[in-house]
Amino acid sequence: MARIADVVVIGGGLHGCSTALHLALRGLKPILVEKDYAGRHASGVNAGGVRQLARDIAEIPLSVSSMAIWEHVEELVGDDCGFASHGTVLVAESEAELADFQARVDDLRLRGFVHEELIDRTELRRLVPAVSDHCPGGVVSRRDGAADPFRTTQAFRKRAIEKGAEVMEGVVVTGLSRVGGQWRVETSGGPIEAPKVVNAAGAWADRIASMLGEPVPLEVIAPMLMVTSRLPAFIEPVVILRGRKLSFKQVSNGTVVIGGGHRAQPFRDQNRTVLDWQKLAVSAATVWELFPVMREATIMRAWAGIEARMPDDLPVIGPSSTSEGIYHQFGFSAHGFQLGPGTGAMMAELVATGATNVPIDGLGIERFAAS
């Protein structure tokens, strides 16, 4: 006997958990299926950046709507998720880079977005006193911040269950087929039938899409992170660079998380990654140059989470182009954490009503149909 649900959500990352929660809040009965445990991969081990800054235009509406949820996340999930809002600063390392940033901020103004703000040398020093002298300014998004990724995913999972979602962990999806008006999701924990299915399977989402005859050019990636031992507090905002790969933040326990997108080698079938120390050395050298205060800090651990990247570095969000009742929500290309709360709300609206108030133009799977 198949289990019956209103929606099957595949994948227990932040996106899957958020979508399940928002579906449950709409009075629907979702069953979430996760092959490992919620937050096992990128959602649980990413850098935790809650960033509107420097996003592609196509993502900005989702990012802005998501930020509105982040700012009241405790009301939604009963936990502040460790979210602290100290802003994100994009540091310019040259006058030429600063001029490019100015053009970007001007362009955003024309489109009605005001969250990015150009700052000069003085304001940069005020926000990030430890930054190296060679940096002439930057851009700040003052409402940005950072949260604890695993805690956030767990909080969404827990609240989803409290609101009526069912979460099946350690259960693998093995097949998808149409039975009458329903989708039949075959799993290692038995079949589930539902009229709607959300594919939020992260680095494994292309396999779900393939089951629907809808192949996508998904690349499995594993962005690397390092963390230092505890240091006295010296920086509040998250710092990112454009010219070189770096994201840099000090969290409340004093440890400093260094990331930025240098990639490990992923082995998705083994849930494993192999780090590339030559590239981490590039990160270390960048931090060495940008923050002299960090030079004697001790690296405690380095790791990488497995996730998906699309060729255009934009996620796949929206209805399937081949299969009615199927919705995609994957391919966040190393910047999906901030989008999780808002995309879940948007997806639940789309699944429940067939439309959404937040524009997702340009993010649909049909953009890869020719490939």
């Binding site: 767990q154 192999v274 050298a285």
Partner: protein
């Protein structure tokens, strides 16, 4: 002093650890013509068992015993073999393609190995009792290190507590060096004797039997031995007294130093981070790597020798190192001449005889492995047994989720001190087997390195300037 910049970019064989297994392996492989480098993080080779073998200030052979001085020949053999021996070298990463990350004197290098022999030995099993983090409480192994390397002995009122062959060896060494030991609190559960009996015939044939008996006699002639079932350490800011239960009665005793020891377990961190498969050893209550007859691991080209392959002691470690080295030489240079592996295996078998008895007899009691209440489990992040118990009750299924919830095992020791305790506590709370609960996923660097060291890795100008998104 060998500078990091003087290393070749690749070697036939990289041996990690300069104890008996590593020294024997490096000597054999180098003599057979394999380009070999041995890295040891201490200032001197010898490992734990032969620590300070070429530099110890203790010159009287009687203090440390003839078994210790056997290490001198091994060290001399390795030094004469032509292998490059680098001390003060911290190996902080090893990946499945056998790329080795090593730091020497503040500079890091990546070195490609055709074969790797991990000979990182053992660690003392954690002994998490109330008050074990107080100054004045230390492990017996740490006291032995101070004795071998620096000739230092504890003074004041000294108590030893625990079980296992090394406890008796250390007691004898300390007594010979002039330490007055007030008492030994023996935690060996009485019921273990019954369980160990079937292993007695093997033990009586082993070298442990006569040596062990002589040690016991020597120590018991000078120190009272008190069997105990419970123990806690107390004091304001430092150790002042211990409380223990013996034969149903509670005692309190003033003390300045408490040395704890309940056996050693394989140091699995580097092998585990390299992706080597491990399994739970139910008899020894620890993780050990899954190995073939040549000590080859699940990762091609990576072997684990010595006590890291499972506890068997120094003499066995050297034979294991030789077997792993013979296999490496066979793979690297099939025509090279090597000792007959069968005779090495026979010697190893003799050395391993008797372990069953010791492992069963000295298997530590639950009371000394599964702490309760406010007893610290993770010393780095100060996580208590109660927190782990509560989190398990809330549904936290394994050590990796425990990390995320409590930062347990996230400190500088990377779980070396709490890993086994956390696995066993979660297993007990879930009524599951430790094998099913699993262990921490270990992340490199397995030893902390500084940002400056990492930034010193040679990187191309193209990589440094690459404009990537």
């Amino acid at each position: 002093m060998t500078e990091a910049s003087n290393f070749a970019s690749s070697y036939d064989l990289v041996v990690i650890g300069g104890g008996p297994a590593g020294l024997a392996a490096a000597a054999l492989a180098s003599r057979a013509g394999a380009s070999t480098v041995l890295f040891d993080e201490n200032p001197d080779i010898g490992g734990q068992i032969y620590r300070g073998i070429t530099s110890t200030p203790i010159k009287s052979h009687a203090v440390l015993g003839e078994d210790y001085w056997a290490g001198a020949a091994l060290a001399a053999e390795a030094k004469a073999s032509g292998a490059l021996i680098v001390t003060g070298a911290t190996v902080w990463s090893l990946d499945p393609s056998r790329l080795v990350g090593v730091s020497v004197a503040g500079k890091a290098r990546m070195i490609q190995a055709q074969r790797v022999i991990i000979a990182t030995g053992s660690l003392e099993r954690p002994f998490p009792l109330p008050g074990w983090t107080l100054p004045g409480v230390m492990t017996a192994g740490a006291a032995q290190t101070a004795l071998k390397a620096h000739g230092l002995v504890p003074d004041g009122r000294v108590l030893l507590a625990g079980c296992g062959p090394l406890l008796w060896l250390l007691a004898a060494q300390l007594l010979r060096a002039g330490t007055k030991i007030e008492a030994i609190l023996d935690t060996t559960p009485r019921s273990n004797w019954l369980r160990a009996l079937p292993h007695l015939p093997d033990f009586l044939l082993s070298s442990y039997w006569s040596k062990g008996l002589a040690l016991l006699r020597e120590v018991k002639a000078k120190v009272p031995v008190i069997p105990i079932q419970r123990l806690s350490a107390h004091g304001e800011g430092k150790l002042q007294h211990v409380e223990y239960r013996s034969s149903g009665k509670d005692y309190r005793r003033r003390v300045d130093m408490l040395l704890l020891h309940q056996g050693v377990v394989p140091n699995v961190n580097l092998a585990s981070a390299a992706g080597v498969a491990h399994r739970w050893n139910e008899r020894q209550l620890c993780l050990e790597p899954v190995l073939d007859v040549d000590f080859g691991s699940s990762v091609p080209g990576i072997a684990v020798a010595g006590d890291g392959a499972g506890i068997a002691g120094g003499a066995a470690a050297a034979e294991r190192g030789r077997i792993a080295a013979i296999a490496a030489v066979h793979a690297l240079r099939p025509s090279a001449s090597v000792p007959d592996p069968q005779s090495v295996r026979q010697r190893l078998q003799r050395e391993e005889l008797g372990r069953g008895f010791l492992d069963t007899l000295y298997r530590p009691a639950d009371a000394f492995r599964l702490p309760e209440g406010e007893t610290i489990v993770c010393r780095c992040e100060e996580v208590t047994a109660k927190q782990i118990h509560d989190m398990t009750a809330m549904g936290c299924e394994g050590p990796n989720q425990m990390k995320a919830f409590l930062r347990c095992g996230m400190g500088p020791c990377q779980g070396r001190l709490c890993g086994l305790t956390v696995t066993e506590l979660i297993a007990a709370g879930r009524h599951a087997r430790p094998a099913d609960v699993g262990y921490y996923r270990l992340r490199p660097p397995v030893k902390p390195i500084t940002l400056a060291e990492l930034a010193s890795l040679p990187i191309s100008e193209a990589e440094r300037k690459a404009v990537e998104r």
